[in-house]
Amino acid sequence: MTVPPSSAWTPRFGFRRSPSVLPGFGLTMGLTLTWLSLIILIPLAGVSIRSAGLGWEEFAMLAWDPRTVAALKLSFGAALAAAAINTVFGLLVAWVLVRYDFPGRKLVDAAIDLPFALPTAVAGLALTALCAPNGWIGSLLDPLGIKVAYTPAGVVIALVFIGLPFVVRTVQPVLADFDQDLEEAAATLGATRLQTIARVIMPALLPPLLTGFALAFARGVGEYGSIIFIAGNIPYRSEIAPLLIVIRLEEYNYAGATAIAAVMLVISFFLLLVINLLQGWNRRRSGLAV
């Protein structure tokens, strides 16, 4: 710890701040911390207090219940698969939007954010209607023996829809800011286009790609609304962890619900930490806040 050089540092609300002539720090910081504690921190602390109250053995029993484990596996597995698909297609979409010009490019660019704007329940309904055996896509896949709706594949489809903008929107600004002189230099030094992409462009895109992947993954793990319609919700097979929390709550099994929530929260916080580190790396590499 370094000692602040100036004596003007005043500890206030536990924060040491640099001197400033602007007023209102105490008031706004006080309000921020109060509101944050009331709405977010105290309610979230409730989950940990509840799970601590369960005792280790009961907690382990609830968390390692086979149905819970199956649900957690599906939530994480499907989120991982969807994030991987989105990383590939998100890069493709970002590349095409930044580098190529085509009619309607701005319109397509605006449409990328649809999954952010569309309520998840509506997305779930729409994807179910498409992928059901009599739907537009389902009726094409059904004769081939491919079932999407009411299977784990449906969960992945829903998460691909939900996660796409995360990857596109993190990669896009970095790619747009990428200095094309570097590509020209590589080309004049005799690199083929593929070599330039692999050795010059991809290293710069790696941090935003990983960040986008992690954001899409984190969102997918907790996703509920868009999945429950298309998944069919068969226990041990296509039942996601957030749905199991809801089922436990409806059974008034608060302990069971809390145990699943605690496991998910611990993993989410870990993911949040990873995302923060990735974003820091991203900023240092590209100088862009994404």
Partner: protein
């Protein structure tokens, strides 16, 4: 401008671009993917809603339970969005205009709701205010109902929309610095005058942008609200919950009719959001896209 130079590069075959055939193939692939993932689901909502013609469509929208759901959704958004607007302003003043230790940790805490499953966002309030919750007995004794009633829905909505305005404003206000405010103060303005006449005009479009996104989420939130609502028809059903109930009753046309209303809302949000980005891109720029 990078954008212009990029496009002049793309206009002719250069060592830093792909061949025209590769370009066309990648563009078509990206557009087909986007059509499948984004456009088709949207089209499905409207098609399913109008499957039996206009009459059942409108009947589903003016039915009393649907109207109650619309009303509740509007009430919840009318409370949650201004609450987050005020919090966003207060928090971003404290965070962006002052230097203090623990700042990035505080920002992470504000972002927390993004990494928590919506179902858990609802669950935390059940654990606090439910019949078996920490304050359950006290609330019951005083005849106050929070969960399975409107206050719980409002709280859960505030939780999930918590970071939207603040995270939009903080990077922008940090980039703008404190020079303008210091000038106003040295000319004799009071703190509040400075905020209203100097800071607010600088951030108004970013503020509107944050409000827009937070409103879309508030009206469309499903998971968190579903957990705390209790699904009482005509009383604690928001529009997304009403959609689910209709769907589970196999009343598909009505479900998709209400869903199409939400999808329309999402489209309006997207149009306004894009308009803001195109018109005032520079004034939102420091805040990134999300």
């Amino acid at each position: 401008m990078t954008d212009v130079s990029l496009r002049t590069h793309a206009a002719f075959s250069s060592p830093v671009g792909e061949r025209i055939r590769t370009r066309a193939a990648l563009t078509v692939l990206a557009l087909v993917f986007l059509a499948l993932v984004l456009i088709l689901p949207l089209a499905a909502v409207f098609t399913e809603a109008l499957r039996k013609g206009a009459e059942p469509f409108f009947a589903a929208l003016v039915e009393p339970d649907a109207l109650e759901a619309v009303k509740l959704t509007l009430i919840v958004a009318a409370i949650a969005v201004p609450a987050n607007l005020l919090f966003g302003l207060v928090a971003s003043w404290a965070i962006a205009k002052f230097e203090f230790r623990g700042k990035s940790f505080l920002v992470t805490l504000i972002d927390l709701p993004f990494s928590v499953s919506p179902v858990i966002s609802g669950l935390v309030y059940i654990l606090l205010f439910g019949a078996q919750g920490f304050f359950g007995q006290w609330l019951a004794a005083h005849g106050i109902q929070i969960v399975f009633a409107v206050p719980g829905i409002v709280l859960a909505t505030i939780f999930v929309t918590f970071p939207f305005v603040a995270r939009q404003l903080i990077p922008l206000m940090e980039a703008q610095g404190t020079v303008d405010e210091e000038a106003a103060l040295s000319l004799g303005a009071t703190g509040f005058q400075t905020f209203r006449k100097v800071t607010l005009p600088n951030i108004k479009w970013a503020l509107l942008y944050g409000v827009l996104l937070s409103n879309a989420r508030a009206m469309g939130e499903f998971g968190a609200v579903s957990v705390v609502s209790g699904h009482i028809r005509g009383k604690t059903n928001t529009m997304p919950l009403h959609v689910e109930i209709l769907y589970n009753e196999y009343n598909f046309v009505a479900a998709f009719a209400v869903a199409s209303l939400l999808a329309f809302l999402a489209l309006v949000t997207l149009v306004l959001k894009s308009a803001l980005e195109w018109r005032y891109g520079g004034e939102l720029a420091a805040s990134g896209r999300h």
